[in-house]
């Protein structure tokens, strides 16, 4: 893939392909643009739980939730390349913010083959394992809260961060998501710690609990 900004975009595309594959395995196929960006954000926040470096350690606090323009560019390019299927395209217009594209994405056979290759050649089994657990944990949540759980994320809801402001969670002390996930270990009997998989699954279920609570209260 010859890309405008080379390595960063290549890394991003690989991460996105693996995430889409993880979504397919978890039954999230196709996955909506909105949910895909939520998952990209959650994967960025929770990657440290698995000891992995995320794609992006910052996000703008958009009113509509996490959104990654560069990732969207890469997804759409991969759709043109025949790696990803783009379906159910709709456009809508927001009076204030202009046009917005809605679509669903799903990995195609060519994309799946590429995933197999990169996992093997680039030793990305651990990354794929993490993304698989994330997608699986997300998919097990009630459908009613799936669109909103990422909005309840501890990092996204860090205090005193206004809309449109950047959130930088590159330092672990500012990654409230990873800190909360690891906090479950402090609540269990001493000498017993939930493993990385359990931390991610518990954190997602915690977000679902908060999302439902807020839903009821509203």
């Amino acid at each position: 893939m010859i890309l405008k900004d080379g390595t960063a975009s290549m890394g991003r595309r690989i991460w996105l392909l693996l995430l889409l594959r993880a979504c397919a395995r978890a039954g999230l196929r196709p996955v909506s643009k909105l949910r895909l960006h939520r998952l990209i954000f959650l994967s960025n926040c929770l990657a440290p739980v698995y000891g992995e470096t995320p794609l992006d350690e910052k996000v703008i606090k958009y009113k509509w939730g996490p959104y990654y323009p560069e990732a969207q560019w890469d997804i759409d390019r991969m759709a043109i390349q025949g790696l990803v299927a783009l379906t159910d395209v709709e456009v809508s217009k927001d009076k204030r913010n202009g046009w917005w594209l809605h679509a669903n994405y799903e990995l195609l056979a060519k994309g799946r083959e590429l995933c197999e290759e990169v996992i093997e050649v680039m030793l990305l089994e651990k990354v794929f394992e993490f993304l698989s657990e994330l997608a699986h944990g997300y998919a097990t949540l009630d459908d009613a809260v799936l669109d909103n759980v990422a909005l309840k994320d501890a990092t996204y809801n860090a205090p005193a961060v206004a809309e449109w402001a950047p959130i930088d969670f590159s330092e672990i002390k500012n990654n409230y998501s990873a800190l909360t996930a690891s906090a479950f270990g402090d609540l269990l009997p001493i000498q017993v710690s939930p493993n990385a998989r359990e931390q991610v699954q518990l954190y997602l279920r915690y977000l679902a609990r908060v999302a439902k609570k807020n839903f009821v209260n509203n």
Partner: protein
């Protein structure tokens, strides 16, 4: 690191108490994770409809959908299937196709209503190699096919719905006795431990087999009241099975260390059986006592068991081991595995 100040500790604690027992016991990419999710759902369904008469109900199958599977128009999406717990689940014979998360469930009805016909239909659909769980409501049984209905491993067992309200020695002892009766006491037991029962040789990885089945069994027997994990990492090593009774205050934990006693085995890759001496057996079993004692001490466990599944030629209690265990505060249990189904 301290909990972020805007995160509610009570919400975390509630999540832990309610969800830890529901977490899949295996990574999501393994067939066991599919088993966990489907069984969890089936038990919820059965508990909801305990009064429903299932005597004439149809068997139904849950299949793990291949990630690149192209569904034809015979598959229809069952909206909110996981959440709805529809009462008419088993009113007609059906196949359900889903992922390990049950996020979307697709349904197709089948004409025939017996298990063999379900197998044939599944294979005709090209899904014969997909992990499959068949529920037979009229018998309260499930058949688990981790390698698919076309595969060589199929396990059938009875679903259990009585939950222990209290996790204590009596409850664990009862669960272990019941497990042995159905899984390991006879060659046709569901754990299928024998390589050659006539020659008295169990499979090489019988400890793993028993551990994995016992973990499944305890998880669903003590379902929702505690967390059951296999190969649980403690500071002093890996406990075969760890049970956390999170509904008690203070939290109580239980350790199970498992050993299989043999009269002979195949060492390494050899295909020639070699005898195991009584001395070696004793040494092996006593090592289990030391392991259990170590785990109990480091974990602060309320109880620790050494469970020996005895596949030797004769049924003789290891009195020395029992005594050693008692001295170390370990509960010793020995379960004899018969060689024939006709044994008394």
């Amino acid at each position: 690191m301290a909990l972020p100040p805007h995160v509610d500790r009570d919400d975390l604690m509630s999540t832990l108490r309610e969800e830890l027992a529901n977490l899949p016991g295996a990574p999501s990419t393994e067939p066991d994770a599919f088993w966990d999710v489907i069984m969890h759902w089936l038990i919820q369904w059965r508990l909801q409809y305990q009064a429903k008469d299932l005597a004439n109900s149809q068997p139904t199958a849950f299949l793990l959908e291949p990630e690149n599977y192209v569904r034809n128009d015979k598959w229809t999406l069952a909206p909110l299937f996981r959440e709805a717990l529809a009462e008419n689940l088993v009113d007609n014979a059906a196949l359900f196709l889903t992922s390990a998360s049950m996020h979307q469930v697709f349904r197709t009805t089948v004409k025939q209503a017996d298990v063999e016909s379900l197998y044939m239909t599944i294979m005709r659909l090209g899904l014969g190699m997909q992990p499959c769980l068949i529920y037979i409501p009229s018998h309260g049984a499930v058949i688990w096919c981790p390698n698919g209905v076309a595969g060589d491993r199929k396990k059938r067992f009875t679903m259990l719905f009585d939950q222990f309200e209290t996790i204590d020695q009596a409850a664990i002892d009862k669960a272990l006795e019941d497990f042995h009766k159905d899984y390991t006491s006879f060659p046709d037991g569901w754990a299928n431990i024998w390589h050659n029962a006539n020659q008295g040789i169990v499979e090489k990885k019988t400890e793993n087999t028993i551990r994995n089945w016992l973990c499944h069994y305890l998880k669903f027997r003590i379902f929702k009241s505690s967390h059951v994990a296999r190969e649980y990492q403690l500071t002093s090593g890996r406990a075969d099975i760890w049970i956390g009774g999170l509904n008690t205050t203070p939290v109580s934990t239980y350790i199970l260390e498992l050993k299989v006693l043999r009269s002979r085995h195949f060492p390494g890759k050899s295909t020639k059986a070699r005898s195991i001496s009584d001395t070696a057996t004793l040494r092996y079993a006593k090592s289990g006592v030391r392991q259990a004692a170590r785990y109990k001490a480091s974990d602060g466990a309320q109880l620790a068991y050494l469970c020996c599944y005895d596949a030797r030629d004769t049924n003789v209690t290891l009195i020395d081991v029992a005594s050693d265990a008692a001295t170390n505060g370990i509960l010793y249990r020995q379960y004899y595995c018969e060689r024939t189904s006709k044994a008394a």
